[in-house]
């Protein structure tokens, strides 16, 4: 007897849970040849608002986690993606029409990218921080701190999405990601949900970029925007809207090649540099400068 197929509906990933859209809307995801793949939740403005609230709540905990711990969690995501390698290869093949070899290579790169940024977390402060030489009796140093809640308009490929999200997380930010690509994105969310990533640190909304992004750009509780997945016209409009609330906006200088070595631009884009001045022993009553 033929077994009844178990069809999967792709939902949102919001605050560590997988809810349907508040609006009840769905859309049909098609594969590269145009055939039906699955139904996915189509996020609404209110889902976006809820996602920003979830990201805001998770912010203090994630930024306060030790860089060592954040690195472990990112590495754990890589482990989980690696464990579901076959599933990701199958989805990438269907979504992009790529062959088995290409899809396998992309999945490997996703894992490698996560491991790459897992290694960065506890090195950011020493690479981007400085002890500053100043002309006075002060010990002056600068250290990077996370920007806060980052809104990410993700490109369509899974490698692109991971390349945008991983540096945001490595720096200690939380994020709300909007992407039209449901199947591989939400499968990635399943990897996140089993990786000790605290709920709300990553929120993935599938739906219409043009519909959701203006609300993300105008939201006052979002501190930065990554506009990689937006087309040039939308980027200008969103950049203008983001200026109202003085958000940091990251737009890649060239169309990014995610297969190339990632560099530091994305890490740097979502870190704030804090500089601290301490009086040194030189001003002590002894007056001998101490050292």
């Amino acid at each position: 007897m033929a077994r009844t197929p178990v069809r999967k509906t792709y939902k949102l990933y919001l605050g560590g849970a997988f809810p349907r859209s508040e609006s009840g809307r769905t859309y049909a995801v098609t594969d590269a040849s145009g055939a039906f793949m699955a139904n996915a939740a189509c996020a609404s403005r209110k889902d976006l608002r809820d996602a920003v609230v979830a990201a805001g709540k998770a912010r203090v905990g994630w930024a306060g986690a030790t860089p060592y711990n954040r690195g472990q969690v990112l590495y754990r995501i890589a482990e989980m993606v690696e464990a579901r390698r076959a599933e990701f290869i199958d989805l990438i093949k269907r979504e992009s029409g790529a062959g088995a070899r290409e899809a396998g290579a992309e999945t490997d790169q996703v894992v490698d990218r996560l491991v790459h940024y897992a290694g960065w977390t506890d090195k950011l402060a020493s690479v981007m921080g400085h002890a500053n030489a100043v002309s006075g009796p002060y010990f002056c140093y600068s250290a990077p701190e996370p920007t806060g809640v980052v809104g990410v308009l993700a490109p369509e490929s899974l490698l692109g999405l991971v390349s945008c999200v991983a540096p945001v997380l490595a720096g200690g930010n939380t994020c709300v990601v909007v992407t039209p690509q449901a199947c591989s994105t939400i499968t990635f969310a399943e990897a996140l949900a089993t990786s000790d990533v605290p709920g709300g640190v990553v929120n993935l909304l599938t739906g219409d970029l043009a519909e959701l992004s203006p609300h993300l750009a105008a939201h006052r509780d979002v501190n930065a925007l990554d506009l990689t997945g937006a087309d040039p016209e939308l980027r200008t409009e969103l950049g203008r809207s983001a200026a109202e609330t003085v958000k940091r906006v990251y737009i890649p200088r060239h169309e990014p090649d995610f297969t190339a070595a990632p560099g530091m631009a994305r890490l740097r884009a979502f870190l704030e540099v804090k500089t601290v001045w301490h009086p040194t022993g030189a001003v002590s009553l002894a007056g001998n400068g101490g050292y």
């Binding site: 608002r49 609300h215 105008a218 939201h219 006052r220 509780d221 979002v222 109202e244 609330t245």
Partner: protein, 312 residues
């Protein structure tokens, strides 16, 4: 006592007969009705009007062991200028503090429309002698507060000493003088809906100007079904005696959405006469900031952020 209500003072038997004679509550029906009304959608101009009304009903509250004169003065400044960016934002109804801070609040708010409410009677537990409770009330009244929030003796109420509770409310009411008396039932400790209905009627009959759900120190605090019951009580009380009394939910109301759900309940259960800060209040602290943020969202567009309102 006014017409329609039997004379209950000093006669424990008639009080007991009256309270036991109240119709029993249908919990399933009550919760279903509260849940249905909570789904009502309020948008655009109506929402803005509801937000403004809700702001004007807030009793801005700080009831912490760590309260200091500076913190209370700061809260009073917040009450006088809720949103510095928009001076036409309505003012909250009152500031609610502990009795020893009453003088600071009265001084800070002198000459403004914002009233001063003080908790009293060994808030929040109410576990002390009547002498201490009366002294606590007099301390606040002599500082010049406009309103007193008393707690009932839940232990006495639950053990059936209804006459004692009735008598204590009357004594405190007398000590209040001109100040309006809010009677905190602490519904989270009363165990059943029937008890909440009885406690509401008891407090109203004893002369409470307001019935208030909770101290905010016990969970669950204000829930919609409980507010429904209390609104029914004040409505029926007015029908019976001709006297209008107020209701104040307190504790757990943090979002604009919650506040609007309560306003819908007020309009539907008690009636539009109660949609007024004189007759309905919210005991809250963080609610005011959420209302201000939602007001900005309604008037200026874009979701507002917590970084843009003052911390209280």
């Amino acid at each position: 006592m006014a017409s329609g209500l039997p004379d209950l003072a000093g006669d424990e038997d008639s009080l007991r007969r009256f309270l036991i004679g109240l119709p029993p509550v249908d919990p399933v029906g009550l919760e279903a009705r509260a849940a249905t009304l909570a789904t009502r959608s309020i948008k655009k101009q109506s929402k803005l009007a509801a937000i403004d009304l809700a702001i004007s009903m807030v009793d801005l509250t700080t009831l912490e062991g760590a309260d200091s004169p500076g913190k209370v003065a700061n809260l009073c400044r917040k009450a006088l200028v809720p949103d510095p960016g928009v001076p036409q934002t309505p003012l909250p109804a009152a500031v609610c503090i502990y009795p020893d801070m009453a003088a600071v609040a009265v001084e800070s708010l002198a000459g403004s429309a914002v009233r001063v409410a003080s908790v009293a009677t060994a808030f929040p537990a109410g576990r002390s002698s009547m002498e201490v409770k009366l002294a606590d009330t007099r301390l606040a009244v002599s500082a010049g507060v406009d309103e007193i929030d008393m707690v009932i003796d839940r232990g006495a109420f639950l053990s059936g000493q209804w006459g004692l509770v009735f008598d204590q409310i009357q004594q405190i009411k007398q000590a209040c003088g001109e100040a309006r008396l809010k009677v905190i039932l602490e519904t989270g400790e009363l165990a059943t809906y029937d008890n909440i209905r009885r406690a509401s009627w008891l407090a109203l009959a004893a002369g409470g100007d307001f019935i208030k759900t909770s101290t905010g120190k016990v969970s669950p605090a204000a829930t919609l079904p409980v507010i429904h019951l209390m609104l029914q009580a004040v409505k029926d009380f007015r029908a019976l005696t001709g006297e209008q009394r107020g209701v104040k939910p307190a504790g757990g109301i943090r979002s604009t959405k919650d506040a609007i759900r309560h306003l819908v309940a007020v309009g539907e259960v008690a009636g539009p006469d109660w949609l007024d800060p004189h007759w309905f209040r919210f005991g809250a602290s963080s609610l005011l900031n959420d209302l201000i943020m939602q007001r900005r969202t309604q008037t200026e567009g874009g979701y507002w952020g917590a970084d843009y309102v003052s911390i209280d």
